[in-house]
């Protein structure tokens, strides 16, 4: 009889009544055909596969991960809150050991949403993975978490949120930023001074096929995970690497996604992008679900699948090998790089410009971080959006040392109120969020 080898939890929230606009790729029927396929396959009847109802994420949940400007209500809809809440439900099921692993098939996605969010970027308003990760850390005290973002776009929001965090390893595989939104995610982007090497960005050339993806997983991601020894592995399971995706130029397939999932063994997978809603999503999602549940997925093949046509060129293979070698070198030098990044107590400044393609907002940031060898270091972000608000967000990391806690409050106290619309303080050790 058909039975899941691993107990697998699913949250399926297609949000059939929510869209960015009627012809936008992120629209009502994005998961319609996936729902048809998984329903017709009888997925929810398989013993060992458990479907959970999502819940609403709260402002408190978001405030562990992001500064929403001017506030949470202004930039989210119920769909965003249910999507983030769905990720939380899966996290609970996995952490409480009701299931071995879980997959949240939810929309809208979140991985382009950064620490400060003024609105929609790349179809994302709030970062559902980051909200889930911070929830897991607060609720269950998990220390080391690895997020592997396999969406075809650089997971720049998640990258940004964990930029200074040495306890969260963020690895993003994506189509080369020179050819794609958001245009970032190059190998040299390795994380802040206190966390160098805990962000790994692996750009892949257009035309990368299953062979290339699995090469990176086997020769870089798995060895790195092996050394990092995370307590939890999360997969930002974007499905826009598919050979039929209208927004990207890659040659990945459903079997490849299922095999990637089998190799990566994520505790939690969260759906991100993927806009080939008819020809790819139904098969890719089915493949991932079966792989997570430990059920044979060899029958999950797109009707028009032709491996010959999708083969990658030798030059692509060479490029991928070179990038992989480069990333592995960075990874091996990470502690030295952190050592060289600056002196403890010193404040380092970074300037950043961010464009919100969904909401047409332009944001300028000035970030000041305290160099620290004992924790991720506190930081403040001065953020001015046009059109929009001027705010200051201060973050004290969850495992902050006493010096960084003190400095964080100093940032907050010194902020001149009449200069900003709002000043926020995210005190993660105490679980407080202050606004002035």
């Amino acid at each position: 009889m058909l039975k899941a080898l691993h107990k697998t939890g699913l949250v399926f929230f297609p949000a059939f009544d929510w869209a960015i606009d009627p012809t936008h790729p992120e629209r009502e029927e994005r998961l319609l055909y996936t729902q048809d396929q998984v329903t017709e396959e009888g997925i929810f009847d398989i013993p060992g596969i458990i479907e959970y109802k999502p819940m609403l994420a709260t402002a408190e949940d978001i405030r562990r991960a992001q500064f929403c400007v001017p506030d949470e209500a202004a930039i989210t809809t119920e769909s965003h809150l249910i999507s983030a809440g769905g990720a939380k439900v899966i996290a609970d099921a996995v952490m409480n050991k009701e299931v071995k692993n879980g997959f949240a098939l939810i929309r809208p996605p979140g991985h382009h949403s950064m620490r400060v969010s003024h609105g929609g970027r790349g179809f994302c308003h709030i970062n559902i993975e980051a909200i889930m990760v911070e929830y897991i850390r607060s609720r269950y005290g998990v220390k080391r978490i690895a997020i592997v973002d396999t969406d075809c776009h650089h997971g720049d929001g998640t990258d940004n949120i964990f930029w200074h965090d040495p306890d969260v390893l963020f690895i993003s595989l994506h189509q080369d930023g020179r050819t794609m939104f958001p245009g970032t995610g190059f190998p040299g982007e390795l994380g802040g001074p206190n966390a160098k090497g805990s962000n790994l960005n692996i750009p892949l050339p257009p035309g990368t096929s299953t062979e290339g993806y699995l090469y990176v997983i086997n020769h870089c991601v798995l060895p790195v995970l092996n050394e990092f020894k995370p307590d939890l592995v999360i997969n930002s399971a974007g499905q826009d690497n598919h050979y039929t995706d209208p927004l990207t130029n890659m040659n990945f397939c459903a079997q490849g996604y299922a095999e990637l999932t089998t190799l990566l063994k994520p505790d939690i997978a969260v759906l991100e992008g993927g806009y080939a809603i008819e020809g790819a999503l139904p098969y890719v999602n089915l493949g991932i679900i079966l792989a997570m549940a430990g059920i044979d997925y060899t029958g999950v093949v797109e009707p028009d699948y032709n491996p010959e046509k999708l083969k990658q060129s030798v030059s692509i293979t060479d490029k991928i090998k070179k990038t992989t070698a480069q990333i592995n070198k960075y990874w091996s030098q990470r502690f030295q790089m952190r050592e060289d990044a600056g002196k403890p107590g010193e404040i380092q400044i970074r300037h950043k410009e961010i464009f919100y393609d969904t909401d047409n907002i332009f944001e300028r940031q000035k970030e000041r971080v305290r160099i620290c060898k004992d924790c991720g270091g506190c930081f403040e972000i001065d953020s001015q959006a046009t059109p929009g608000f001027h705010i200051l967000g201060v973050h004290i990391p969850i495992n902050a040392c006493p010096a960084c806690i003190e400095k964080g409050y100093e940032f907050f106290d010194k902020a001149v109120e009449n200069k900003y619309h709002h000043v926020f303080l995210m005190d993660r050790p105490k679980g407080n969020y202050h606004i002035k």
Partner: protein
């Protein structure tokens, strides 16, 4: 006047109802080895001294198909399934004569791989050689495009007595369940057919010539003729009969719990504003999952005759039954004995009951009276615990739209209706323990026969319109029509209502009972190619709700 007959696990009840109420009722011991003579004897006794020409309607509910499944006396039938991409169809094997074949249809109903006629011919020969007479044919996504099933049927027709097709079973998606359901229909067909033909013949001989209606698992009825195509729908109509029997006593505009407490088991169900709650997909009992529309019921292995035991100082009740209560000559003490001891029940041999409860009392270190009280209370607690678990489960069902998430209906029953032999005794205790208004359904022993008698015809249609492909379909009804780009939501609803009415009349519905129409599901989606709209997909499910026929609402009060 109308007749309701319900074949129960122990007894078969038949009632004659007029618009004055229950005119007559009879009780026959169920003989599972010979259900035919049980049914016939029920009718014979009921019709004694009644003029058969006064009867306008007769509804039968039997355990025939349920027994065939439980006792695995279903006939070996052939199954041909075509799966296309996805889970290996070998997992859904129904028996020896099961063949997975090539051919594939995708989720939009487009053919992706054709049927291999040579392969089908080859399989047909093998099945004929094996002596197979009935065959089921199921293809994945046949609900969207049944052409492969129809083609295969055409190729098989000349070899077999009857061929059952997956797309006729249900408009719902679920390939494994569709395979199981199609198989069930094929496998119980000849049993069902010979049984009901014999019943009909005998009744005609008695002068009863009204169309016979059969009760379905969803608490609705269908004509005998309609039942020949879907004999599987009669499975578990027993619990459905009793739930329908509780409806006259259910509160209007409120939720209610129905508990049918029998000798061995208790069936639990729910009514929302006098309408029973249905299973979301189809009947599911243990590992058996189907697409058969059914009332949402669950059975708990606890009843008046459940065996009492003490294990490690703890009292256990059921799930087995070793015979009647000791008060009625049984071998072991039961909750019924506790009720006799407590004087809540004044029949049976009180001495024997006391002796039985005494053995339990000794092991628990309690007085006989205390032990009996504990047993009775534990019994109620177990039943109610399961009930509340079901409510939690129903209320935590996943939803797929923001609207449903925010507006999700929460079941919160304010009344309990109890049926079954010991109903009156349990009702009082449950009310005392849980402070919920609890009522023992009057005429409780015959309530299920009354439920069968008063049940109205139900049916459901599922429509799917795709303006890009220019077609509206209800494949379950063998309906497909071309549509234009301007096909609207209103057009869809109108088509659905026409089909629903037609289906209901064909299933034997009284034209006066076609008003309880409900849109169960509606969805509308754009089809976008290269960022521009190409058409719309509409989906709807419309049903005639289960409920009682008109004209008898007040009869039972």
């Amino acid at each position: 006047m109308i007749i309701g007959l319900d074949v129960g696990g122990t007894h078969t009840y038949a009632v004659l109802l007029s618009n004055q109420g229950v005119e007559k009722s009879v009780k026959v011991t169920t003989n599972h080895a010979d259900l035919f003579s049980t049914v016939l004897s029920g009718f014979t006794q009921l019709l004694e001294s009644i003029d058969p020409s006064q009867i306008e309607r007769a509804v039968i509910s039997t355990t025939l198909t349920t027994n065939a499944i439980i006792q695995q006396t279903m006939e070996p039938v052939g199954m041909i399934v075509s799966a296309g991409p996805g889970i290996d169809p070998e997992f859904f094997r129904t028996g020896e004569h099961y063949y997975a074949v090539s051919g594939s249809i995708n989720h939009r109903g487009r053919e992706k791989a054709s049927v291999n006629e040579m392969q089908i011919q080859d399989i047909a020969k093998k099945m004929v050689d094996a002596g197979i007479e009935y065959v089921g044919v199921v293809s994945k996504f046949c609900v969207r495009n049944p052409s492969h099933e129809i083609l295969i049927k055409r190729m098989l027709n000349k070899y077999f007595k009857k061929i059952f097709l997956g797309h006729h079973v249900s408009g719902n998606l679920n390939f494994p369940r569709r395979i199981a359901t199609t198989h069930l229909n094929a496998a119980v067909f000849s049993l069902h057919k010979s049984f009901f033909e014999a019943v009909k013949k005998s009744l005609t001989e008695k002068g009863l010539t009204v169309p016979i209606q059969i009760l379905k698992a969803d608490g609705g009825t269908m004509s005998l003729e309609a039942s020949m195509h879907f004999p599987g729908q009669t499975v578990l109509s027993g619990p459905a009969a009793s739930i329908m029997g509780a409806i006259p006593y259910a509160p209007e505009g409120q939720d209610a719990i129905v508990l049918d407490i029998g000798g061995t088991t208790t069936d639990i169900a729910f009514l929302v504003d006098k309408a029973p709650l249905l299973e979301p997909v189809g009947i599911q009992r243990g590992s058996y999952k189907s697409l058969i529309r059914s009332l949402r019921t669950d059975s708990k292995g606890i009843g008046g005759d459940s065996t009492l035991r003490v294990k490690d100082g703890n009292l256990t009740i059921g799930p087995d039954r070793q015979g009647p209560a000791m008060a009625f000559g049984g071998p072991l003490p039961t909750p019924t004995d506790a009720m006799v001891v407590l004087n809540v029940m004044d029949t049976g041999d009180r001495e024997k009951a006391t002796a039985g409860i005494e053995t339990i009392a000794r092991q628990l270190g309690l007085s006989i009276e205390e032990a009996a009280e504990k047993i009775f209370k534990t019994c109620c607690t177990i039943i109610l615990k399961k009930t509340f678990e079901m409510i939690d489960q129903i209320n935590s069902q996943p939803v797929y739209t923001v609207h449903d998430f925010l507006e999700g209906y929460k079941l919160s029953p304010q009344k309990i209706l109890v049926l079954g032999g010991p109903a009156p005794f349990f009702a009082q205790k449950i009310e005392d323990l849980y402070q919920i208004d609890t009522l023992a359904v009057p005429n409780s022993p015959v309530a299920n026969a009354v439920g069968a008698a008063l049940a109205r015809t139900t049916c459901e249609v599922s429509l799917y319109a795709d303006t890009e492909q220019g077609i509206v379909t209800a494949h379950e009804e063998d309906f497909a029509e071309p549509i234009s780009k301007t096909f609207s939501e209103d057009d869809l609803m109108e088509t659905a209502y026409t089909l629903l009415k037609e289906k209901a009349i064909n299933s034997g519905a009284d034209p006066e009972n076609l008003e309880e129409v409900e849109v169960v599901e509606f969805q509308k989606f754009n089809i976008i190619r290269n960022f521009s709209p190409r058409g719309k997909i509409f989906r709807t499910k419309m049903q005639l709700k289960p409920g009682l026929i008109k004209g008898y609402e007040t009869v039972l009060h």
